[in-house]
């Protein structure tokens, strides 16, 4: 039972480089999310998707892009990496359970350093 899988687990980037953080889920969840976690700040929502082909901005979208071509995959793209993007990134997916609440399941995270 894989759940939510994120790759890579660790990455070091130079300023100005680009990369894609991969996220895939095998639970057939419609909703997917990207968060970043900074020390003492909790998790902040970057982007989310309610289904294939539909994405929307969260609280901190600047410097990032997403796409959702399939139900399973929700990659996060950094075009021009900056030191401020040094963080731990978490992908999550969810489904609406009885009562309308979405229970989110998280991946193990990608630790990114931009130097």
């Amino acid at each position: 039972n894989a759940g939510v899988t994120q790759t890579p687990k660790f990455r070091i980037l130079k300023i100005g480089q680009s990369m894609t953080l991969q996220c895939t889920q095998d639970m057939n969840h419609n909703y997917m999310y990207w968060y970043r976690q900074d020390p003492g700040m909790g998790l902040k929502l970057i982007y989310y998707s309610v289904g294939a082909g539909i994405t929307d901005k969260g609280e901190v979208p600047n410097g990032y892009n997403v796409s959702r071509s399939t139900t399973e995959d929700f990659p996060l793209r950094l075009e021009l990496a900056a030191p401020s993007q040094t963080s731990v990134y978490f992908c999550a997916s969810s489904y609406p359970s009885p009562g309308g609440v979405n229970i989110q399941y998280f991946g193990a995270g990608t630790r990114l350093s931009v130097l």
Partner: protein, 114 residues
């Protein structure tokens, strides 16, 4: 808009002692409330949730939380902690029908000492 405040950034406690991690929230509409736990170098795992009904909810690993609407609080408790409970704990809220987006508190590090 919603916000979540976890009142303690770190909580040191001795093994087998009781612990309370405090969480207050602000919202003009009804919310669902969650506690997540993050063990070192791992993702977040759901501990428990409050949706409606009984204000005392029980979760995994012996944790429980009490929803207090008048004080807008959702404190997490455990009567006797273990070394293995050492982790970071996050309180979060979401609004019904709002795509499930979570708003997190800043996190509380629980350090259980032998």
């Amino acid at each position: 808009a919603q916000s979540v405040t976890q009142l303690d950034s770190q909580v040191p406690v001795f093994e087998e002692a009781p612990v309370e991690l405090r969480c207050n929230y602000s919202s003009s509409v009804s919310v669902y409330l969650f506690w997540y736990v993050q063990y070192p170098n791992q993702g977040l795992q759901l501990l428990l949730k409050y949706l409606s009904g009984s204000t005392l909810v029980k979760g995994i690993n012996g944790f429980e939380a009490e929803f207090n609407k008048s004080q807008t609080s959702f404190h997490l408790r455990k009567p006797s902690v273990h070394i293995s409970d050492t982790a970071e704990y996050f309180c979060a809220v979401s609004v019904a029908g709002n795509t499930g987006k979570l708003i997190f508190g800043q996190g509380t590090t629980l350090q259980v000492k032998p």
